[in-house]
Subunit: 168 residues, 2 copies
């Protein structure tokens, strides 16, 4: 079966141990997680884990079912990629030589990135967007020389009135 990228949104009780149970379910099955982010929701007792990974239809469904059985997991949803807004945040530190800053600033403006910190020959930049935009910016910056890069991993929310329910 064809393998494709998918996003799982998981609402969990904000308890020590639940993240370990979720991530070990993936590692036991030999699945690598492309990105994972965990943060509090509007209810401080509930956290939301967003996982981006690759797999076929069967795998996705199995993971969804298995995750649902874990202690402290409230809801699991395989996000509908067409009706979901996906964003990630990247910070990147890049080198530049004398005379290159103007060109670099033009690209920053095109990508709507922000300059967080500027030293004599390094700039620290921030970019928010879909993974494809983040990847394109990294590709643009590579020739300058990327010296450090961190990205948060994808977080995802349904479009319009769609809500991930905590009771299902």
């Amino acid at each position: 079966m064809a393998s494709s990228k998918f996003i799982l949104s998981i609402l969990v009780n904000n308890e020590a141990g639940v993240l370990t149970r979720v991530s070990s379910l993936f590692s036991r099955r030999g699945f690598n997680i492309d990105s994972l982010s965990v943060g509090e929701t509007e209810n401080p007792l509930i956290s939301r884990i967003t996982i981006s990974a690759k797999g076929d239809e069967y795998t996705k469904e199995q993971l969804e079912k298995q995750l649902m059985k874990l202690h402290d997991v409230i809801t699991v949803e395989l996000m509908d990629m067409e009706n979901t807004v996906m964003r990630e945040l990247m910070m990147v530190k890049v080198k530049f030589k004398k005379g290159e800053l103007t060109e670099l600033m033009s690209a920053i403006s095109v990508f709507r990135a922000k300059v967080i910190d500027l030293a004599s020959n390094t700039a620290t930049l921030e970019l928010t967007g879909q993974s494809s935009k983040v990847d394109a910016f990294i590709e643009f910056l590579a020739p300058y020389g990327i010296i450090e890069l961190c990205r948060t991993g994808v977080t995802a929310i349904g479009r319009g009135d769609y809500i991930l329910k905590s009771e299902s």
Copy 2:
């Protein structure tokens, strides 16, 4: 000893299992993680895990030492909070009534948030910033009625020329 917020940046080999080992070290010791984000670095073989948590000096140092011993962990650094840029990304879906949109848009502009999606009585917003800014925006939006909220967790990068080295 006084307990304070701290950020750990961990460079790891991009292998299944390493996230489980890192998170289980926290849960075995009964430590709750406030936020965690994992994403690829400039080197696709290496991922960066950023963990935000609370603890006293002794705890922080112990965690740093124990993490360093884990398989596939390359570097662990307790970030110097004064010389680190910390950012997180939030998406939030909020209700509004007829006549409230103008006021809501003003606040969005003050906080430099973005409108991702707008339905007849809900708006989906995106905000990037330090956790304190994100918290302030949530507090502002609460009276409107937050119906869904996801945040990526903090990611952190050193200011200026400072780099988290992969060989230490």
